[in-house]
């Protein structure tokens, strides 16, 4: 058997016969490679590859003008008509197109398919670069009640049947005729909805939109795209358009211009890819930096392990050199010996990366756009191979560089005594400090992120959700708009209110048959605000414009959810029954309206034509992701459509499934057309899914880091204690107990350990403070979290060291003396 083949065979054997080396190497390298390769795959796919379904993306721009409604919530003010007008003004520059997208479902032969439903101008296929696979191109003549399916939906719902053209399906409740099949479109962001490759498209003619009425609406949420054909459009051009728009439609728009201006509108013209990626390039670079530190740390750990391993094989290498092997041959031998371990690590790393890429869409919580396009490509696989080869080669070279002439002679002539004459090298000390510092840097970051995620998960709600269910109900029929005139409006409102109450009573009866302890609330909303609307008002004293959440409640609201009343009174049963113009507001809203700093001063004032009768405590809402968003609790229901919401409560120990409740409500009243029921707990769990997964991800990263720190300390301790083996033997021979030896060894370690930890924590904190100034998304610094994670790190490092020292002490140190 050749020398090299034997080295390779030994490498394979070592996987099993030397688990003390192979296991930490495989574990460390594969976990780290998984993280590195996942990020490399993301960077490779999202930063460097062209968008898969957009032609000539360099010439495609997204035009936007956004206003900030609250905190992080912004909305585009482009509507179809506004895009059409913009296109008309700058038609010589290039082609304009627009689209919006929501999630919906289509029903084909009784089967429901969740889809991304696009509403787009009929030139979008040409502008983006999509293809019509079957049927007819959309035009002014064929888009009424017509729908185009994406290839994926065509395949799943119709098994790619070419005879699909002309058939009908239901989009939501509407019947549509299929006019064509188009290619799937992946390069879009779904907003707050789910994203599906199964898609439906409804088209409209952009120029025709100019004829539609000018609406005084702020939120447009239509995306305006521009493909440059003759000259680029600039932000100044777009600003000029808005100036003309307000000027030309002043009478229809009323105060909208001043409202929008008060919300700080920002105009942007970005290349489509940049608009898709938002700020995630920064995030990807940040992730890349993190995993590179992890890889560095893992390599340092392995280096220490390999130093320890090669120290134990010094005599063997010396013998090989003596028998005529040159250094190159020994390097190749070490390289081949390591190949099986490194190859297995690379393979596991790739598998881990593939798994991470699968879960990333969930982990990223919608923060990584187009993440579903990411896959393991040749670049990633090549990087896995190159990384492992480089590390392997480096360690192989290391195996021989530590020999000098004197050591060679010493090893050959002194048997195993050579080991005992050794000292912990400066390199080993530097490596130990470097890896503990790397661990501290990553742990500091993860500590802050974990603290932030933990706080989000364990937020104080300010109310008791209880065992609550919410039903969304749509009733049959049609409702004309409510008349403006008071004398006609009020009787009509009462009629509609009573009709709604009649449905509610029927539902209550049906639900009581299902469960006698169920309570149907008069209030139509719940405190989380899953279905709240945002309104705007003006403070009459300061003229400040205020945005607020509006919820529809009744007298039972504050008791049902245990929300404290801070000032004034609750709405009364009479006020609710008569639909009086009264409301409660929360403390955050009251603080904005108060003239003298007291809550009482707000009582009696009118907000959105409702008189404030009471002020209740703030509570957590989804809008604010906290408890301070101004909210108006309206006792006067919205009665302008046939939708209604029902809130039900059961005693905590009782449970009903959403399906049982849906079934009971659906048949409770003939007017009920559609029902969807969810429990608040389910909704909250879904809402917090991203945060929970992010917390687990951060926790996983922390565990990986701690594991790496433990492995690194382990390697260092092996190396250090092996060198001390001879000394330990002499101490034992002269009467030292194992505990004395342990404490003596740890004492010699402590200076290095505490210096390393000191340097590590100082550098980690310094780096974090520096990064925090550069990266806004980093959470604020938390000393308790740092203390917790640092204590964990110290404990793990100490434990890893003690474990090794104790093992070596127990493994017959006297052998060193006998070998002499």
């Amino acid at each position: 058997m050749s020398f090299y083949f034997r080295a390779l065979r030994h490498g394979v054997q070592r996987l099993f016969t030397l688990p003390r080396l192979s296991l930490p190497v495989i574990l460390t390298l594969s976990l780290t490679l998984a993280a590195v390769l996942a990020v490399v795959a993301i960077s490779s796919n999202l930063i460097f590859k062209p968008l898969p379904d957009v032609k000539d993306e360099q010439a495609l721009y997204q035009i936007d003008r956004r206003v900030t409604v609250s905190g992080e919530l912004t909305t585009s003010i482009f509507t179809k008509k506004r895009v059409a007008l913009l296109a008309q003004q700058y038609q010589d520059y290039g082609d304009f197109t627009s689209f919006s997208v929501d999630d919906d479902k289509v029903t084909v032969n009784g089967t429901h398919y969740p889809v991304s439903a696009f509403s787009a101008s009929d030139n979008i296929l040409d502008t983006l670069g999509g293809e019509l696979l079957l049927g007819e191109m959309p035009s002014l003549m064929n888009t009424q009640d017509a729908i185009w399916l994406s290839q994926s939906l065509w395949h799943s719902a119709y098994r790619s049947d070419p005879a699909v053209i002309g058939k009908t399906l239901h989009l939501g409740e509407a019947e549509m005729q299929i006019k064509g099949i188009v290619t799937d479109f992946q390069s879009f962001t779904p907003g707050n909805d789910e994203k599906y490759s199964q898609q439906v498209w409804r088209y409209y003619n952009l120029a025709e939109q100019i004829k539609t009425p000018t609406l005084m609406t702020i939120s447009g949420d239509v995306r305006a795209l521009f493909r440059e054909t003759s000259r680029p459009i600039t932000e100044s051009d777009v600003e000029q358009f808005w100036h003309n728009y307000y000027r030309d439609h002043a009478s229809e728009l009323g105060p909208m211009n001043s409202i929008i201006e008060s919300l700080g509108p920002v105009t942007t013209v970005k290349q489509y890819r940049d608009a898709l990626m938002l700020e995630q390039n920064t995030m990807i670079w940040f992730l890349l930096a993190t995993v590179i530190i992890l890889l560095l740390m893992a390599s340092l750990n392995l280096l220490n392990l390999f130093i320890a391993h090669y120290q134990q094989r010094e005599q063997e290498f010396a013998t090989q050199l003596c028998l005529g092997a040159n250094r190159r041959k020994l390097i190749i031998m070490s390289f081949l010996e390591n190949i099986p371990t490194f190859a297995l690590s690379a393979l596991l790393g790739l598998l881990g990366a593939a798994w991470i890429i699968r879960v990333l869409p969930i982990v990223s919580g919608g923060n990584l756009e187009l993440i579903e396009l990411v896959q393991l490509d040749m670049v990633t696989i090549s990087i896995a191979l190159i990384t492992t080869l480089i590390i392997n080669l480096f360690f192989a070279v290391l195996s021989t560089t530590q020999f000098n002439q004197q050591q060679l002679v010493s090893n050959l002539n002194s048997g195993n005594k050579g080991l005992n004459a050794g000292k912990v090298t400066v390199l080993s000390k530097v490596l130990f400090i470097a890896q503990i510092s790397s661990a501290a840097v990553i742990l500091t970051g993860t500590a802050m992120l974990a603290q932030s995620a933990f706080s989000t998960l364990n937020v104080t709600l300010g109310f008791t959700p209880g065992n609550t269910y919410v039903a969304e109900i749509i009733r049959h029929g049609e409702l004309p708009e409510l008349p403006d005139e008071e004398d006609v409006n009020e009787p009509e409102r009462h009629k509609r209110f009573n009709a709604m109450i009649a449905v509610k009573n029927s539902v209550t009866t049906a639900l009581h048959q299902l469960h006698h302890d169920i309570t149907v609330l008069q209030s139509a909303d719940e405190p989380f605000g899953f279905a709240s609307t945002i309104n705007m008002t003006q403070n009459s004293e300061t003229n400040e414009r205020l945005t607020f959440l509006a919820k529809y409640i009744a007298p039972d609201y504050i008791n049902a959810f245990n929300i404290p009343l801070l000032a004034g009174r609750n709405v009364t049963e009479d006020e609710y029954t008569s639909q009086a113009r009264v409301a409660l507001i929360n403390e955050a809203f009251a603080r904005k309206l108060t003239t003298d700093g007291t809550l009482e001063s707000v009582l009696g004032i009118k907000v959105a034509s409702l008189q404030v009768v009471g002020i209740i405590a703030n509570n957590y809402t989804l809008m604010s992701k906290g408890d301070g968003y101004p909210t108006l609790f309206n006792a006067r229901h919205a009665l302008d459509n046939l939708n209604m919401q029902l809130v039900m409560q059961l005693p905590n120990e009782h449970g009903l499934s959403s399906e049982q409740i849906t079934q009971a409500i659906t048949h409770a009243h003939p007017e009920i057309k559609y029902v969807e029921v969810k429990s608040l707990n389910e909704r909250w769990a879904t809402e917090m899914l991203d945060e929970r997964v992010q917390f687990y991800f951060v926790a996983g990263l922390s565990i990986l880091t701690l594991l790496l720190a433990a492995v690194g300390s382990n390697g260092m301790a092996i190396s250090f204690t092996e060198l001390k083996r001879f000394e330990l033997a002499i101490r034992m021979a002269t009467g030292a107990t194992r505990f004395t030896l342990l404490s003596h060894t740890l004492a010699t370690f402590k200076h290095l350990l505490f210096s390393a930890l000191g340097i590590a924590i100082t550098s980690a904190c310094g780096l974090y403070f520096m990064l925090q100034k550069q990266v806004a998304m980093l959470p604020s610094f938390s000393w308790p979290s740092l203390f917790f994670f640092t204590s964990l790190l110290i404990t793990i490092v100490f434990f890893a060291i003690i474990l090794v020292v104790w093992r070596i002490i127990n493994a017959d140190p006297m052998k060193a003396l006998r070998e002499q």
């Binding site: 013998t319 050199l321 005529g324 041959k329």
Partner: protein, 230 residues
Amino acid sequence: MTALVTINNINKVYSKGQVKTHALHEISLSINKGEFISISGPSGCGKSTLLSILGLLDTPTNGSYQLANIDTHQLKIDQRSQVRNKHIGYVFQSFNLIDSLTVFENVALPLEHRGMPSADIKAAVEKQLSAVNMDGRLAHKPSQLSGGQQQRVAIARALVGNPDLLLVDEPTGNLDSQNGDAVMQLLKTLNENGATVIMVTHDERYSQMARRQIRLFDGKILVEHKEAVA
């Protein structure tokens, strides 16, 4: 007769900080092919240092060393490995067999480093192990052998490449007297068959088995005794 080894005025000084140790002092020797030389002396007299220099495991501080007409002073590190592989066989007191390899693989190492075909290696190794009466233990690991057997394997490894010079460092140091005698008898036979042997030993009895005996003291040749060739 042609000199296989010629060393002239060799000095070896070890420096550690301010402390300098003169291990060898102006040593000159000429060794012919077929000689059996023992080097003896008290601990620290420079025996092992001299053997290391002769084995190209170490370099002299100054002085010249020619082995088989090769000026070793000019050799780079990998060339020294090649010369060691081709011209020198080394037997250590502590055997220095590689635990993870079998007896066969240990003995085959010098030939593998030489790049010899597998079939030739097999034949040469089996022949050499047979010569030291270890042909029944080819697949054994060193840990499965006695000290005497390990030393015989080490000698086989040193001889398998037909070196010009066999350097033996305290060959009986880790052996009982019975095994020690057997190993010495083996070395004597090898010498009688033409091998040039330089042996370091502190055992006067074994030292006298060599036809040329050199005694070192404080890094200098104290006395040299040469038997007349019969």
